[in-house]
Symmetry: C2
Amino acid sequence: METKPLIHSPFEGDQSFIRKLARFAPLTPTETRLLQNAVVGQREVTARHDILSEGSSPTEISLIVKGYACRYLLLSDGRRQITAFLIPGDFCNLRALHTDRMDFGVAAIDCCRVARVPRQKLCELIEKHPHIALALWRDTIIDAAIYHQWLTNIGRRSAYARIAHLLCEVCWRFQAAGLLRQHSCELPVTQTDLADAMGLSTVHVNRMLQKLRADGLIRFQSRSLCVLDWPRLQAAGEFEPSYLQLHAEQTPRGRRDAFLDRSRDDKEIIALP
Amino acid sequence: METKPLIHSPFEGDQSFIRKLARFAPLTPTETRLLQNAVVGQREVTARHDILSEGSSPTEISLIVKGYACRYLLLSDGRRQITAFLIPGDFCNLRALHTDRMDFGVAAIDCCRVARVPRQKLCELIEKHPHIALALWRDTIIDAAIYHQWLTNIGRRSAYARIAHLLCEVCWRFQAAGLLRQHSCELPVTQTDLADAMGLSTVHVNRMLQKLRADGLIRFQSRSLCVLDWPRLQAAGEFEPSYLQLHAEQTPRGRRDAFLDRSRDDKEIIALP
DNA sequence: CGCTGCTTTGACTGTGATCAAGGCCTGTGG
DNA sequence: CCACAGGCCTTGATCACAGTCAAAGCAGCG
């Protein structure tokens, strides 16, 4: 992950979100610069604290720069459902562009650096630059595709398969974000987090993780995940990564206005090592 | 549901989708007309048949004009997860604007009339009319908000509460679409459909529906749902409708360019009778 | 050290799945 | 008009996956 300092940005930032957006809809250098300039500042959020609270009405869009976070929803009896894991480059609340009240919370899983983009600035960009709107919209759409998968995962798969599926998804996203090394990644989630994400109890997650370990599919200790047997892990989770839209990359610049007729046939898919 | 014939549209169409979009971002008469003209034709799909198949690459966006449909995903062993119910005015595959391959199927629940909008036409509109892009994007966002709720519903609520929650959601959406009359609506879904939507078995759905009936919350027979006790049904499902964004209506025309500073305080919510 | 938070274990329970059969309704064809 | 078939709903019996409760081990950390 090369981190060239950004000239126009008020902080020594990270471009992961730009790179991610560029994957969706090619951006001109001007558009890239405008997006970078829209970022107004960063803050640190300590582990296990809210980045955005349910019910608040933020006037800024937040963006994970470093660390891991999750979207969650709380029920009246204290049960929690995690609806998404967020990694560097992910927007917390793009939805705030269209709605005022947060109807979910966002919490830091480990210590996070969070950047802010004023809603108004982003709206101005959107109105003037359709490609930026498109790129952001696509982000929303991929979010929705992930929700889709989680729904079938939670609704129709066994606990064992669910966890396998989730781990596969996480690895693929990490891979695309340059956070995977040698089949391994930092994964500072607790078993309770996994349970809340997959609609299971902590105890049962513990037992299923043990089984995954016993079956030789993964190693998962001290907040670090290592996949030992990709084919079998993917098979166990019936995982099929196309919904993540992780194409191998960077539509050529010359075609930037041709988003309508981008080739129908599949772009090369990044094969996980 | 008044159905004034549309002058510029090639068919005696229905404007429900325009009305729905207008709820999100006020459209000028010109924009409305452009959208209506983008619709190229309709087709009938018989009950229980695919409107769009998983794996296909449609070049058109489909739109439910009449009838009910669902998005679904099939697992290798034949299990099915329904991820959304679609009613008149809903887009089946807006996602196709950004991705070629359908990664889910859409099936008609009863006999459906489906309108088509060529992707290219819609893309042209989007590029030239940021408000149309915004309105469609918002549609995607509300879809995502519904997925969010379904996730917590399936992940963390009991079968009884899940079904209650789903029925509440359906009623509110029907209400907004003018399909609810006297606390009653047509609901041609089978108990198997409900089961596939909520991650339950058909048998268990049957028993929970019986309990909901026995408790005096609903009547549900011959494809027609009647809610007998709103407060208790909402309580049973812990239902809280704000995520559906069904505000009472029609932001005044004069403010149409002011989507940035729409009032932060809550718009009046339609109270269900 | 002794917290505190996370993981692990065991015993027990229960929600909801599975299997199987029968009933009911509607549409169809003889 | 009746017989039949195919969906769909309903019921009962049994089973298992996963939840709950409780307690003990194990870090890391101030």
